[in-house]
Amino acid sequence: MSHNNHFPTTNNVSGSPSGRRIGVYICYCGGNISDYVDVEKVREAIASTEGVVVAKTTMFACSDAAQQEIIEDIQEYQLDGLVVASCSPKLHLFTFRGAAERAGLNPYQYVQVNLREQDSWAHTDDPQGATEKAIKLVAAGIAKAKLTRPLKPYRLETVKRTLIIGAGIAGLRAALALADLGIEVIIVEKESQAGGWVNKFASLYPHKKNGQQLISSLLYELYQRENITLYTGAQVVEKKGCVGDFEIKIKTSQETVTHNVGAIIVATGFENYQPHQGEFGYGQTSAVITLPEFKTLVESSREKGTLEFNGRPIQSLAYIYCVGSRQPAAEENAHTYCSRFCCNAAVHTALLVTEINSSIHQFHLYRDIRTYGKFETLYEDACRQGSVFIRFAENEPPQVIPENGQLKIKVKDLLTAGEELELATDLIVLVTGMVPRENSELVNLLKLPIGKDGFFNEIHPKLRPVETVIDGVFIAGTAQGPKNSAESTASSLAAAAKAAALLIKGYVELEPLIAFVDVERCQWCGLCAEACPYEAITKGSLGEREIAEINRALCKGCGGCVPVCPQDALHLEGYTDEQVQAMIEALATESS
């Protein structure tokens, strides 16, 4: 593939009334754009636009060679604005901002025009229409570029200390990782004891250590380190400041302490799904219990060598899978997601039961089973050791009927062509999933974003999996969604790495595309401050007058304050009235 095919160039160097010197590059994208957009025609249409000094087409604008040419042009023609019309800004906004910066042009004087996702690819049925649209889009990009000004990111020193909320396996592991990188750690745990759920877990796959042993080894390591402080029975009650320097108030039973921290990791974990009264007989008979309850029973029975319930040995039991998970969306507060750990946990528990007494009959009633990765061998072992797997249909779940002190289950077995089975068992285990923890105080305090499933939300599930929209606040473990303990630890180490990367650098640079106040117009009514959930606007003063003041470190650049101002005194950098109106005008103008 050729990367350096650029096409005829025209350089209209002329004195321009706006005084601006804009370079425009229109990309073929190797045919992705040029197959449907007459790229040369677009160039001709915009080349003589006032302020445009260089207008070129290029086969691949993102190629090294093309970027180099752009850099040379910026320097040779002393460009003060750059427009690249290529793909979506999600792909290459930062690529070309970088190219501008390398050439000595302020990166905020770069404008990306989306000719691929929002033009050529959307109008493959209408090349003429796509070309006309491209001309308007590029003209709007030029109009915006002409109204850009050089901006500098806001630089903020950071405090080399991290707050971790939650001392479960995720929080503890992240604390050790940070401490070893030389970053001081404050851990806040709501319970009186560190360790979280894992501390209560029975023997774990594959190393057969129990949860308590794992947590003890982490706590042992923790106490070896002087730069970790653990508060138990404690809660975060106040947060001020912003990324790099949050001021945190922690309340314990004895005192309230204040710490300054540069980053926050939220590792508050999950809650077990609690079946409602009557769900598969739960609450109606004591012989229907949840998986966590059953695991406690199994763990305590391992030493005894016999599995008993209510003083009677268990001869048969049934597991019902997906209880509280994968619920139909139509249900109120439905948990529509798969809890991901529970198939593995139930199958693993069945193996532990077999270890205690191999003559116990175990029936697994499931909709679908997912023992992914290494856990697949657990499933095979369970089959081999006599567990019976019975698949039911989503719309025909098993029915639990208490009868003569025993439990009867009716279930239609999909794998034997819908044959109706009746099972009599001593115990029914509901394989319950994970649900989000009720944490509204913390959510309000940190302004944490919550996803549709009720768990905390990352910025991007693949590219930024532990960062939140609140700069400097990271999420780890099951607070983000169902995970097993290995996955929790992996995510907590990712969060630790992100927090460390932020703090070891010593400073953060914040986007300058934020709100600003027209101090002449502002009469301080306070409406903008009310509209800002980030508390980025406060009352300031200009001489005698009260005016709105924007905290550059707190403003997220959403513009939510802009339309609420009755004086029209608030503007968003990069989206000013002048810029938006110039773009609208260009987009509305028909090319002849």
Binding site: E117, P449, K556, Q581, L587, A588, S592
Partner: protein
Amino acid sequence: MASHNRDQNSQSRTQEDFRPKILVFSTNSISDPGIDLAGSSHLHYPPTVVVLPIPCSSGLKPKWILYALQKGFDGVFIAADGTDCPYLPDCTDRTAQIATAAQQLVEEHGFEPARVKMAAICSVCAEPFVNHMKAFYETLQSLGPVKKESSPGETPPSSAPNSPPAKSKNNKGK
């Protein structure tokens, strides 16, 4: 077919060859990726639809919407963040208020409020976006072309002192 009571404005355009011009305000992190996805999936919608991305639909000024109609757009569509907004938990309500205010504002200036439409478009809402565009396009076709501002030299309310100079080269007056 339709009555031609707009002949004075629509020149010789008939309803059939009237291709409504739609301005879409999208949002950088939510609806714009959804609109990108429509293109990546090669879903078609009229090329007279153009998109102007902003950070959040709650940052939209009603006067920009009026300005778009004054400049010749037949309709303005707000591709709102909805409940997915990364900034504002009450974004849906805020954008709805802005859309309502914009409808009132354009009506005060003699434009039909139906020329302003809002719907939440999520980051994977490719098909819903395309369906909205087709439906809005049809609505605007039945409304007819936007009429020119009655009072000449109208500028946007609460004035934009530094509005850019008209680009005479591209403005070949028809």
